[in-house]
Symmetry: C2
Subunit: 405 residues, 2 copies
Amino acid sequence: MSLIVQKYGGTSVGNTERINSVAKRILETQRAGHQVVAVVSAMAGVTNRLIEMANEVSPDNEPTDREMDVLLATGEQTTIALTSMAINAMGGKAISLTGAQAGIVTDGDHTKARISNITPDEVHRLLDENHIVILAGFQGRSPDGRITTLGRGGSDLTAIAMAAAIDADLCQILTDVDGVYTCDPRVVPKARKIDEISYDEMLEMASSGSKVMQSRSVEFAKKFGVKFEVRSSLNENPGTIVTEEHPNMESVVVRGVSIEREQAKVTIENVSDEPGVAAKIFHAISDSGVVIDMIVQNVSKTNQTDISFTLHRSDLKKAKQTIDPILKDLGNESSIETTDGIGKLSVVGIGMRSHSGVAAQMFAALANNGINIQMISTSEIKTAVIIKEEDLEQSANIVHSAFNL
Amino acid sequence: MSLIVQKYGGTSVGNTERINSVAKRILETQRAGHQVVAVVSAMAGVTNRLIEMANEVSPDNEPTDREMDVLLATGEQTTIALTSMAINAMGGKAISLTGAQAGIVTDGDHTKARISNITPDEVHRLLDENHIVILAGFQGRSPDGRITTLGRGGSDLTAIAMAAAIDADLCQILTDVDGVYTCDPRVVPKARKIDEISYDEMLEMASSGSKVMQSRSVEFAKKFGVKFEVRSSLNENPGTIVTEEHPNMESVVVRGVSIEREQAKVTIENVSDEPGVAAKIFHAISDSGVVIDMIVQNVSKTNQTDISFTLHRSDLKKAKQTIDPILKDLGNESSIETTDGIGKLSVVGIGMRSHSGVAAQMFAALANNGINIQMISTSEIKTAVIIKEEDLEQSANIVHSAFNL
């Protein structure tokens, strides 16, 4: 008998019919001889309707964060009750727990709280009594008893954190895809499912646009060594195991290719090549709330240099408005140039550490097909390039083939 | 400065626009110099939709009671968050509390829990910080931390119990009527609002069909001496004060007239006039879940008697099915007769205690208009008669005039 944590997302529990399917699957897992904790999200669409109502009663301001959490937490609470009822109606023994009831304590940072500790006594007690535990994802309570929510990707985080707290044998993230692919199959028809991937590769894939899961949950899993599986809630196919890296993994040089669309680029030219200038720029950007991705600064041979960074296209205007007023502080001849219509292509793999030439091979494959590279950025296990957005899909196929994925 | 508990029902908070009106009213109450705890119900229609979903995932059985409470409690939780947000958006300082957070502890009898005690420390703390407290009606927690709900009329009960626990100066039940009337104005156009009524009169009115509030909340208010006011959430008219009786109240002989439609009558004839027979009948009825109202048994001069009772028409078939199998145990010649198409007319008033002749005056008024009385039942402060349902409205007007209401 093993102890399994399963997580079902909002689409999987999107209506009562789907909740019945999920209930059946959870019950079958228990009847196969396992103890089961199932984490469920709010039914698809519910959270948006709640936010809509919040905006209606708070038309001119942001709705109070604290109350937003009280409101949003009802979404998962509805799902846990319905899922438990469905299991009970099928002859199973299920009991629902809210985040607070399950002992999930967070900090008090409403709408984006961080889990500080979990006291899973009640979960253990219910499992020992042969109950299936249906746990509300995305939520917890602050030390003084307020309802908190964990922000985007919160239900994945609940599943992984609870798996760590109860020392589960397996954590399954059940979703609407079969697992993690070598590339988005809608872009690269030859893409295939990856059987096993390391946390670091998964993180680089996530930060490069393969949004199967938020980075935050993967980081948590890595920190606490929680092995988990991403698999489909719609079929019985094995999914992708995400785990600590082991030597065998290095035999594959490139694990996957990911693309990110709708990127934009800001280049600030002729800034003084002196300490503090970059800090000035990125403090201002950070204060404005714009999220940036790649930063590239090349060595300069004069006392001036150029600094470029990429960001989502929707933030481009705000970034320019942020830089414009401080441009004169950056250098006498500083100017700003913005470009959109670009995208990012990344190859990821821990094998890169021990295999040289990955970047060269990637660049050559692109060059042979006439694709121009505008920017390059690398990490230990990732090589990313910025290219024209219109070239993105073709390039993904080229690179996918070049590495025989 | 006084401490006021207000309660707003599901219709008053039926959509975000109405929540905004309620928020405005609550805020105005605070700005008039009071401390305010506002108890709110689930938005009208929400509870029914939740029950519908529960039945969809539990088609062949009753949904689990425990999970039903987890589900239903989301209704009020949604309203408290939205109401608090609305007040905050108007510049007020509101904080929401679920039943559990407000220290409302109940027994573990899911879907119809009884309040066992209230620890209002958090409510006091928030009031002391000048917050408006928005409290979820209808819900609490069991001693071991499960979510419970209080059943029908639960939000009224929350308001009255919290008013008792924090020793509020006033408890206002805000609803869609202006108060308690001498009779239903749709039936008796001359009916007028009652300014003040005793708990006992209110209880008799409630049990006689004037369903402004469930008896249970009035009983609780009586037990703990909570004076409360029933008034409209749609205007500023003063409502009806419900309070302990005082000598002045006796000057009014009859406080009000109430009617109950769709009644039916079961008569069991020729039952043995010996100990235990009535018990046999009413144990069986009680076990079947049928709720009965009046019971009449006349003195017998032989060793046989007749027992009659009234009940709602919809329970008539079930009652007959319950009695039929035990008929032979009740007496050798026992038979059962059922009648529907009847209604109940009651006059209520604590003045009856000191004024004789109320029943006679009522019977005379009806007789003068050719209304036949089928059954009579009296309590210390009520006289009720069963008549044909088709005579009910005319009779209400006759009696209302006879007592100069």
